[in-house]
């Protein structure tokens, strides 16, 4: 499996290799240099959710988060991959703690002079509702860990699809130094069903895929400055994007510190008129 990503094999087979079709562990492995993938708290450590079985839900042996240490393009990196197929990539006490602790370990390494990059593969609906407050609390931990680490090294988020990145983890994505997305990806605070439930079908029809992607899809998020690189659903393209993100290093000003820019953007919006995707793009260009 790993050999399929080696440069020699890619040269022989110049077709695309889908990233979206890979599970979380395969995704992490596919981005790392051959033979360097080393998993921390893997499935056989059986650090899983104690809360799911108590509510009649089958747990997963890694609680849906893969933490791997290794090299990406020769750089020492921790890759944290959320499994979107398990409970919608939701963040529970255990899965969230794995993410926060991995980021903290990377922070300690950087503070000790050992340059370590961090890559987050975000495929998540946000907090795991069965673990309510514990999940919310740990998402706050993840966010403070990202903020601590991003002073030392770029924290790179990748949203590939098809789950997308929502809820508290969308805020975590916005705190990353650099965001990479595909056209298939979505990034938003509330998912389509939640918006429809709260605001009505006239406001947002959660069955209208064109509408959903026009508002929260990877391309729109790229055109409106929330995403730094738009890439194809292709392992080699995502690896190349990571290389660029690493080379750019720690940004002079993080997106989440661009308060005036975003306030100007928001001030330009007339809430009485219905905005469409191109109107949002035009507003962003003027902001």
């Amino acid at each position: 499996m790993n050999s399929a990503t080696s440069p020699q094999v890619l040269a022989l087979h110049p077709f695309r290799r889908s990233f979206i079709e890979l599970n979380a562990r395969e995704r992490a492995r596919s981005l790392m240099d051959e033979g360097t993938f080393e998993e921390l708290l893997g499935p056989f450590d059986r650090i899983k959710s104690p809360w799911l079985p108590a509510q009649g839900v089958v747990p997963q042996s890694d609680d849906g988060v893969v933490v791997a240490r290794g090299a990406v393009d020769g750089c020492r990196t921790v890759v944290i991959a959320i499994e979107g197929m398990f409970q919608g990539g939701s963040i529970g006490e255990v899965s969230g703690t794995k993410i926060a602790c991995a980021l903290d370990l990377a922070c300690e390494d950087n503070e000790a002079g050992q340059r370590t990059y961090a890559v987050l593969l975000l495929e998540t609906g946000g907090v795991r509702l069965q673990e309510a407050n514990l999940g919310l609390a740990v998402i706050a931990e993840i966010q403070s860990s990202i903020i601590a680490l991003r002073r030392h090294t770029p924290v790179v988020g990748v949203i590939a699809g098809m789950v997308g990145c929502f809820g508290g983890m969308a805020i975590s994505a916005a705190l990353c130094s650099h965001l990479i997305a595909t056209r298939e990806a979505r990034l938003g605070l509330n998912g389509p069903e939640v918006i429809e439930q709260e605001a009505g079908v006239e406001e947002f029809d959660s069955t209208d895929r064109r509408l959903i992607w026009s508002a929260t899809g990877g391309r729109q998020r790229f055109e409106t400055g929330f995403v730094d690189q738009l890439v194809k659903d292709d392992v080699a393209a995502i690896r190349a994007a990571l290389r660029i993100a690493f080379q750019q290093g720690v940004p002079a000003k993080n997106r989440s510190a661009e308060i005036d820019k975003y306030l100007a953007f928001l001030a330009g919006i007339d809430p009485t008129a219905q905005l469409d995707a191109s109107a949002v793009r035009n507003l962003w260009e003027r902001a």
């Binding site: 979380a24 089958v58 997963q60």
Partner: protein, 97 residues
């Protein structure tokens, strides 16, 4: 959710442990580990209740073919019997290569 346990006499050693699959819709994860004992023990945790006889049939067939000294944990999220059989074969393949 239902948990079941099965045991089969076994003769053949397994080279190393293997993990395959995801606890996602219509899928399952299999954790296969070598065991020093002359039997295989299987623990199944499934989201669909009441299919014990079908689980037994799938596992009977697997262990009739592969008498492996192992400890197997299955976390299932509504996989079909065919899917379960394929994941078991995949785990075995990974544990020998």
């Amino acid at each position: 959710m239902e948990t079941m346990n099965f045991e089969y006499p076994a003769t053949n050693a397994v080279a190393h442990r293997a993990h395959v699959g995801v606890v996602g819709s219509g899928d399952l994860e299999v954790l296969l580990e070598p065991s020093p004992h002359d039997f295989a023990s299987v623990q199944v945790c499934t989201s669909v209740d009441g299919y014990g006889t079908i689980w037994k049939a799938v596992l009977d067939r697997f262990f009739a073919k592969h008498s492996i000294k192992s400890t197997i944990e299955i976390n299932d999220f509504g996989a079909t019997p065919g899917m379960v059989a394929l994941r078991l074969e995949q785990a075995l393949e990974q544990s020998t290569t």
